[in-house]
Symmetry: C2
Subunit: 213 residues, 2 copies
Amino acid sequence: MARPVLHDYFRSSASYRVRIALNLKGVAYDQQMVNLVSGEQRGESYRALNPQGFVPALEIDGQLLTQSLAIIVYLDQKFPEPRLMPADPADGAHVRAMAMTIACDIHPLNNLRVLKYLGGELGIGEAARDEWYRHWIAEGLAALETMAAPRAGAYLFGESPTVADICLVPQLYNARRFSVPLDAYPTLLRADETASADPAFAAAHPDRQEQPR
Amino acid sequence: MARPVLHDYFRSSASYRVRIALNLKGVAYDQQMVNLVSGEQRGESYRALNPQGFVPALEIDGQLLTQSLAIIVYLDQKFPEPRLMPADPADGAHVRAMAMTIACDIHPLNNLRVLKYLGGELGIGEAARDEWYRHWIAEGLAALETMAAPRAGAYLFGESPTVADICLVPQLYNARRFSVPLDAYPTLLRADETASADPAFAAAHPDRQEQPR
């Protein structure tokens, strides 16, 4: 089988999620960096791969897959161990809901294209854009802390990593970059700390990827 | 088994998705309306159910489930027929990516809380807010049309409804409310037309739900 190719950007949280999942599954892959800051993702050749013009996109098994959570479900089906989503439907729904609290309700609001629209079309200044960024993180993480606390262990759900942790770690990386206070989220911080000690998470960190020139 | 209770709002697209899924599965349920316009979802009693303060939330099998796509996966596992996601991992990834193009990259940007923040904290006027709303729909639907076209049938993927159609129909309902031009998306319109003739979709339409007083 050809090695999978991840179309990637070091600071993209959605790409960071897929890097973690590939590492947890022990799937070796090649990386193709797409320079988001120079706008490469909006160029014709990348759009031919992914019409959304987003990273990540994963070439695997002769397919081109997009959307980080769809890619992670695919990986979980093709490489069953370790499971990234609990088998029990109710436990699975809980874990997926936590993942989507980040992937649907925090991350898309703080995406580069949205910040650009705020600054460009709407003429919002940098301080107000930063406030926007922090606002949606704080709102989402507060809800996530309440959701996670009753059933968390060392990770957000029990003692092994799930897709919820895979979404959490990149989101907290972003939160720290924008100096969002995190003390009110002890359950999230504990899961983040556990995950950061796991080589699969550590190797996916933005600082350990190719940096754009 | 107690009948499931859907905490619902007639115009919430995420609730609309879950109504369609319950109807497709033939699961009878009760509805508990949450008045989003009066702010009931932010009240203490509703937040005790769902810390995010969003609809839908589904009480089922002694659980309280949140996040529409997590609820739909749960329903698909507990009530296997008809399948809402293809069994083949690559087909499933394609269908999930289409669903998430709507659920992650269009819908959250146009949520009520976001429009309120734009109008309130950022002082953006109604015309520019409407433009924002239309912008993200147009950008997302254009990508979705390109993604869907090669493998669509009467529905977005083949000849039976999937979670992608379940996300599409409420999103097109919103698009029409805001007069977004749709002629450039023939594949999406065909799937929407097919779905609208299906009683499970039709019965979930906002006009057929309890209206707030």
